[in-house]
């Protein structure tokens, strides 16, 4: 007799709200997780994946109701449980690790106390067991951590604590809801390793919810793809990435830039349109309005979830044609860019040059400092950065949080006056203060921010937000302004009637398009992007990335593109600069950035990157310890405290030299280039298995 599965969901439907406001967010979900199985649940925002995760433990808010189906946890019906039974189940059998650990940890309780809550109160050994658990999640200094309050720990440490707390009761099912989304890639990699090694050893079943296909590929055995509240595909992990059957799965995979994919030779294929709202679903297949192979049948009739070859399921009328290769469900690529204007070579005329840029923030002196006669301490956000961007070129600046990459952008644009260094735009030195720059300079230099929600004034219509820069910076006369406004909206692929709308009437992707349109209004020579696509869903992100590529061609603009995501940066950029603690570590043309030699930090970044290939063999290089505080910047090479290739005293005491390869790659390291090259392997490039780049049209 086989044991009951850890989780068995059958025909589950969930609604929010009541009466006319009722929205059904999950329909007819079947899902079975065996003991010890890692199950990935993937979907974009609005797909209902978090609702499913919470419903699986019957933990919906007051507003949510399970309207049909059954949930069994280890063979026990969860829906029939009384409240005390349910609470005991939560304490013992099923645990949740949420996205934001800081919001889930009680700020007034010490970490040790909170973990001990998972144990029986009468357990005399609970203190010991807390320390064991903390040690098992890689927090070596357990005693100190146990005595800390949540805010005293870094995000990665908080998430380790959450995992320790979740494992405290040896649960049968562990639900992880986007646990690494807010973390840096290097931290994310260590957390994923931890989950894999630790939980695998315990026979705990895992439901891992994520929007990131790469993370799921690295961790899970099976994947379920959720779209608009329906399960559209469910398969072993290798099958999904090798041979996706559902056009939506395929669309998702084609929307994510693969490491090494560059827009100049291989465009992303975003999914057209938007995810439907829960109260206005299409009649037939929910994906039909965005599907490249939709027919009359798919538009009218909802497809069943069909078994395919025993181990996978798909909800598509045309999966047979897709499976045997008669049908290619790829999205229409965007039209090829108009006669490619060749970007100037890197050594040509520069639109922007930055030399020796520094930004220091003085800290307030404490009374103790004052009495001890210590001088004012400073935060070194940017410590000497040199950059140059040529015409029509894109420089990608990559760094993790705290690297100072945003400060570089703010110094260039003038929002933050730099402490030292020079910024020249088209050979004209720029004033440090924004207020000291005259209008022609302002016109030449614009910026797009990360947060689309904050980028537009919620009280102004889109038209008003766009007319202002047209009139002021571009000097468009009132007679022409409406025409120019329509042109501008068209340039970002929006219809002119968007001018009358308010920001709250737009989706996240549309808001970001408007923000891009505003930046382009004055035809700038250089545009800065600070994490401008990071907050968007992958399919929307792909469309915006392609739009940026096209706009650069149409408007002959240079870009400084800042992101934490190396794959996104290498897709868009011609040159890449890697920054760590306010110091450039490596600069390289995009063509050779994935070839050794690497700076040891770049090497660690590349090996931490989640790839779209479960079989990918990546070197497992993990960074130990925490990012040093920019107040006490390590001397010598700032990376020496965490460097896996640490040499010795020389790294601590002496600043490394800049070494340059014949291909134009520059590395800031004491280790000679040939030595680095000899011991490093090139980054794996997972190509889409269904088509090589040459099959591109």
């Amino acid at each position: 007799m086989t044991a009951a599965p850890a989780l068995k969901i059958a025909g589950l439907s969930v609604s929010y709200g009541n009466g006319s406001g009722q929205r059904t967010v999950l329909r007819d979900i079947d899902l079975t997780i065996e003991t010890g199985q890692f199950y990935g649940l993937v979907g974009e925002s609005g797909s209902g994946k978090s609702t499913l995760a919470l419903a699986a433990m019957r933990y919906l808010g007051a507003d949510g109701r399970i309207t049909g189906g059954s949930i069994e946890l280890g063979g026990v019906n969860l829906l029939a449980m009384s409240d005390p039974e349910l609470r005991r189940t939560w304490r013992e059998a099923v645990k949740l690790v949420p996205q934001d650990p800081l919001a889930s940890l009680n700020p007034r309780l010490r970490i040790g106390q909170q973990i001990a809550e998972g144990f029986d109160r009468r357990d005399a050994r609970s203190e010991e067991r807390v320390l064991e658990l903390l040690a098992s999640v890689g927090l070596a200094d357990g005693l100190r951590v146990a005595r800390s309050f949540p805010h005293q720990l870094s995000g990665g440490m908080q998430q380790r604590v959450m995992i320790a707390a979740a494992l405290a009761g040896s649960p049968e099912l562990l639900i992880l809801d986007e646990p690494t989304t807010n973390l840096d890639v290097t931290t994310e990699a260590t957390i994923l390793d931890l989950v894999r090694d630790l939980v695998r050893a315990r026979d705990t079943a895992v439901l891992y919810v994520s929007h990131s296909l790469g993370v799921i590929a690295r961790l899970c055995d099976r994947v379920a793809v959720l779209y608009a509240g329906e399960l559209v595909e469910d398969a072993p992990v290798s099958d999904i990435y090798q041979r996706p059957l559902h056009p939506y799965t395929r669309g998702l995979l084609d929307s994510v830039p693969r490491l090494g994919q560059n827009r100049r030779d291989d465009l992303l294929r975003p999914i057209v349109g938007q995810i439907p709202q829960a109260n206005s679903l299409p009649d037939g297949c929910v994906f039909a309005p965005r599907c490249p192979v939709a027919t009359e049948l798919t538009r009218e009739q909802r497809p069943p979830l069909e078994e395919v070859g025993g181990s996978r399921r798909v909800r598509c009328h045309r999966w047979r044609e897709i499976a045997d290769g008669r049908l290619n469900p790829r999205q229409q690529g965007t039209a090829a860019a108009p006669a490619e204007q060749q970007p100037a070579s890197a050594r040509d005329e520069h639109v922007l040059t930055v030399t020796g840029l520094e930004k220091r923030y003085p800290l307030r002196r404490s009374l103790g400092d004052l009495l001890a006669g210590r001088s004012r301490r400073q935060v070194h956000a940017v410590a000497g950065v040199d950059l140059a961007i040529g015409r029509l070129r894109t420089l990608g600046l990559v760094g993790e949080s705290g690297s100072g990459k945003s400060t570089v952008a703010r110094c260039v644009i003038g929002l933050t006056p730099p402490s030292a260094g020079e910024v020249t735009l088209l050979d004209v030195p720029l004033a440090r203060q924004l207020s000291a720059r005259d209008r022609p300079v302002l016109r030449r230099l614009q910026m797009v921010f990360q947060n689309a929600d904050e980028a537009l004034n919620p009280y102004l219509t889109v038209g008003r937000s766009l007319r202002r820069p047209l009139a002021r910076l571009a000097g468009v006369s009132p007679a022409e302004i409406d025409a120019r406004l329509a042109q501008l909206l068209q340039a970002v692929r929006l219809s002119p009637d968007y001018a009358e709308r308010y920001p709250h009437e737009l989706s996240g992707g549309e808001k970001q398009r408007i923000a891009i349109a505003r930046a382009f209004a004055a035809s700038p020579d250089l545009l800065l992007f600070d994490e401008s696509v990071s907050g968007l869903d992958v399919s929307v992100q792909a469309a915006v990335l392609n739009l940026l590529g096209q706009l650069q061609q149409e408007r002959a603009t240079a870009y400084l593109f800042i992101s934490h995501d190396l794959a996104v940066v290498s897709y868009l950029a011609d040159d890449i600069a890697v920054v760590y603690l306010g110091q450039l570590m490596e600069t390289a043309p995009a063509s050779v950035v994935l070839q050794p030699p690497f700076h040891p930090y770049t090497e660690a970044l590349l090996s931490a990157l989640p790839l779209l290939d479960p079989q990918a063999k990546q070197d497992r290089i993990r960074l130990d310890g925490e990012l040093p505080s920019p107040v006490d910047r390590p001397g010598g090479c700032p990376f020496h405290t965490r460097c896996p290739r640490f040499l010795g005293d020389i790294c601590v005491s002496e600043e490394p030299p800049w070494r340059e390869t014949s291909e134009g790659k520059r590395i800031y390291c004491h280790i000679p280039l040939d030595e680095l090259e000899a011991t490093q392997s090139p980054a794996t490039l997972p190509a889409a298995p269904w088509e090589g780049p040459e099959a591109n049209d």
Binding site: G414, F449, R468
Partner: protein, 291 residues
């Protein structure tokens, strides 16, 4: 109440939104009551002389100390003045003093709050420490002190209300501006080279308005209270003007003989203050909590 509003639905854009706003406000019973009463008082203030059957200081000793009757709804006081007429005629005064005092406070508080908070640094520090020192003293005491120094006059009462409430308004403005000034759309405006005035009044002010509307209503109710208190203490409006606080003060000596001359003005003050508060509460739920 909603029927006439709904019939004008043909109008577009801003007008429609304003109507929807009123309708939401009126869908709450307490807010609807408060707003209606305030509007009624406003009408009385405007039409005062038309509604009052007698003059404010029209004395008739033969009619003195009459209890409320159909002819004299609020009775008459010890000097034979019609209490109802005096209450009606006093409405305008209280609206003028409390209303314009509040408006002045809101105007100055908003401008100072916007500038000081946006500029930050020493300017903000000085302005708000100064405000703190004003707030450290009870408003009434502060008002008495100023009026004692400069003498009681209508203008001075108005200025005193403004001075007492500017710090509070500025603080409310500050609480919003602090959050908004780091928004990216403000940075975008700076990158367009917009002037300080444009950024403050076009980009930031709209975000402040909901909180400001609620605070203004609340300040108005406190201002009514303050004006009445000052009148009662003799530091505000001077006799023989029909000020509500003053009327209570005068009737106090004769409370055994003509209690109505005390109770009616007191009741009217309470009614107005409570109504303004209910209206402010309604505004708050509609504007700030999304109705």
């Amino acid at each position: 109440m909603t029927a006439p509003l709904a019939s004008v639905r043909g109008a577009r854009g801003r007008g429609v939104r304003r109507l929807r706003f009123l309708r939401t406000l009126y869908s709450r019973r307490s807010a609807a009551f408060g707003t209606s009463v305030v509007l009624l008082f406003l009408l009385v203030a405007l039409a005062g002389p038309l509604l009052a059957p007698y003059g404010a200081n029209e004395q008739d000793f033969s009619e003195a100390r009459r209890p409320p009757s159909l002819e004299r709804p609020f009775g008459s006081d010890h000097l034979g003045r019609d209490v109802f007429s005096r209450v009606v005629l006093g409405t305008r005064d209280i609206f003028m003093l409390a209303g314009f005092g509040t408006l002045l406070a809101v105007f100055v508080g908003t401008v100072v709050g916007l500038f000081a908070t946006y500029l930050g640094g020493l300017v903000e520090e000085i302005a708000f420490r100064l405000f703190d020192s004003v707030l450290a003293m009870p408003a009434l005491l502060f008002a008495l002190l100023l009026l004692g120094t400069f003498g009681p006059s209508r203008t001075n009462v108005l200025i005193v209300i403004a001075v007492a409430y500017v710090p509070i308004v500025a603080r409310v403005v500050r609480s919003v501006v602090v959050a908004v000034k780091t928004r990216e759309y403000v940075a975008a405006a700076r990158m367009q080279g917009e002037s300080l005035g444009y950024i403050l009044f076009r980009e930031i002010l709209p975000a402040v308005l909901p909180a400001l509307a609620v605070e203004s209503a609340l300040r108005f109710s406190y201002a009514i209270f303050l004006v009445a208190s000052l009148g009662f203490l003799g530091a505000g409006v001077q006799p023989p003007n029909p000020d509500w606080g003053l009327m209570i003060s005068e009737a106090r000596t004769f409370v055994g003989l003509t209690p109505w001359a005390l109770y009616f003005p007191a009741a009217v003050i309470s009614l107005l203050v409570v109504s303004v508060n209910l209206m402010a509460d309604g505004l708050k739920t509609v504007l700030q909590e999304g109705g």
